[in-house]
Symmetry: C2
C-alpha cells in the first residue's frame, strides 16, 4: 500500500504567506522531510515524524521521502519559497527518473508557495511589473558559461532579472562576475534591489544601482533584482523610494 508525497512550499519565512493548502497538507501527513531550518517552521504535531537533513543533499532528501511514501507514509517534503522555483520539486522528479521504477506510481502533489522574488518585489513596489527572468547563479549543477549566456540574453532582451542563490562560501565570486558582465550591457545607474532574509526577523532590503551595489553583503539568503531600462524610482513620503517597472514602454 503506497502512501502519498507532497512537495510543499512554505513561502519566504513569514507564516502569513503560507497558503491554506500548504497548512492543511502539513497538518495531515505522517512524515515531514526537509532542510532543518525549514522543518523548524512547521508547528510540531503529535504522531508526526520529522526528518531533518543537510541543505545540499537535495537528491538524497528526495530519495528519502520517496522511500517513506513507497512504504505507505503520507510524506511532505518542505521547501522554502515555491518548490517549483529553484527548490525541491525538480530534485524530486530527478530522483524519480533515476530511481526505483515503482516510485513512478506514487501519488504526488506539488503545493506552490510565494517565492522570494515575489516577497522582495512586494516590499519595494512593483519591480517585476513587466517582463522578467529568474536565474540561479549556482554553478553546482550547470556550467558557468551557461549562466553567462543567460545573463547576456537577459540583458539583450531588456528583461528585469531576479538572481537566486547569488553567492555562497564556495562561490564568492559568482555575483561579482555576474555584475561585471551586466555592467558591459546595462546602464550603470540601473536600479538594483538587494533583499536579504525577506519575511524573517532579520530582513534587510537595500535599493541601490548596478554600479554602486555592495556585493560583499550578498549571501545565499539574498535575492537580487536588477531593473530593466524602464525600471524607475518613485520618491515617497516615508523615506525609501518605491521601485517599479511600468507596463508601458515609450
Amino acid at each position: 500500500m503506497s502512501g502519498r508525497l507532497f512537495v510543499v512550499g512554505l513561502g519566504p519565512g513569514d507564516a502569513d504567506w503560507l497558503t491554506p493548502e500548504a497548512a492543511r497538507v502539513l497538518a495531515k501527513v505522517t512524515d515531514i522531510v526537509g532542510y532543518g531550518p525549514y522543518i523548524d517552521r512547521v508547528p510540531l504535531r503529535a504522531g508526526q515524524a520529522r526528518h531533518a537533513s543537510d541543505n545540499r543533499s537535495e537528491i538524497e532528501r528526495a530519495r528519502h521521502a520517496l522511500g517513506l511514501a513507497a512504504s505507505g507514509g503520507d510524506v511532505a517534503v518542505v521547501s522554502g519559497g515555491d518548490p517549483g522555483i529553484f527548490a525541491m520539486a525538480a530534485a524530486l522528479f530527478e530522483a524519480i527518473e533515476e530511481g526505483d521504477k515503482t516510485w513512478r506510481d506514487l501519488s504526488i502533489e506539488i503545493v506552490p508557495g510565494i517565492s522570494a522574488m515575489q516577497a522582495a518585489a512586494a516590499r519595494v513596489g512593483a519591480p517585476l511589473g513587466h517582463d522578467f527572468c529568474a536565474i540561479s547563479l549556482s554553478d553546482n549543477l550547470k556550467p558557468w558559461s551557461l549562466i553567462e549566456r543567460r545573463l547576456r540574453a537577459a540583458a539583450d532582451g531588456d528583461f528585469v532579472i531576479a538572481l537566486y542563490n547569488p553567492a555562497s562560501k564556495a562561490r564568492p565570486d559568482g555575483i561579482r562576475d555576474a555584475f561585471a558582465l551586466l555592467m558591459q550591457h546595462l546602464k550603470h545607474e540601473t536600479p538594483v534591489i538587494v533583499a536579504r532574509a525577506v519575511g524573517r526577523s532579520d530582513e534587510l532590503i537595500e535599493i541601490t544601482t548596478l554600479a554602486e551595489a555592495d556585493l560583499s553583503r550578498i549571501d545565499m539568503s539574498t535575492l537580487v533584482i536588477i531593473g530593466s531600462s524602464a525600471t524607475r524610482l518613485l520618491p515617497c513620503a516615508s523615506g525609501r523610494p518605491w521601485v517599479y517597472t511600468p507596463r508601458s514602454v515609450s
Copy 2:
C-alpha cells in the same frame, strides 16, 4: 486624515491559495476595488463597500482606489494571481507618478499572491525548475517588436518561457506569431503546457509540443509554458506524464 491602500493578490482562482495575509487585509478594509470577477471571489462583509470595474481600465481603477484612500478609506485593490506579476501593482505606481502629489504620502502595501505560472507548473510537475522568464504577449502598452526581441532573447538564453496574456479578441494572432518565431529557434518537439483557468472549476491543462499545440484554444485565461532544451517528460502511472526541467545541465 489619509487612509491606507493595499494591493492584494488573490492567487489563481482557488481560495486554498489565498495567503493568510491577504485574507486578513480583505477582512479589515472599508473599500474593495477591482475587476468584477475578482471582487466576486471576496466574501461579502457588512459595512464594506465594493467597487467593481471593467478589466481594461487598470489605471482608472488605480486612480479610483487612490482617491478613496486619500479621502480616509482603508482600500484593497484586488488582483488575480500576484499583483506584482503582470497585474495591478505596476498600474498603481504609474497612477501615483502621474497623479495628485499627495498620493505619494499614502501608506501603501503590496500583498503578494501565487501567480498563474506557479499554479500551472505545480499541476504538471516542475517545468520552471530551472532558469526561466515570464513575458506578457499583450501589445496594448508595448510595441510588438519588443515582444519579438524578448522572445528571441529567451530562446537565445535557452530559458523556460511562461507566456501571460497570450491571446485576446483584439489580438488573436499574437500567440501564432510568437509560436512561429519560437519555431525558428527551438526544437519542434519542445514540451509546451497549455493551462486554462488554473484553480477554477473549468480548469483544463494540456501537455503538447511547440509544433503540435492547438493555438485556437488559447485565450486570456490561459497561461502557456514553453520548455527549455532540458525540459523533459516523465511517464507516470496515472496517465498524464510529469513535465520537469532538471537542475543539472549535461
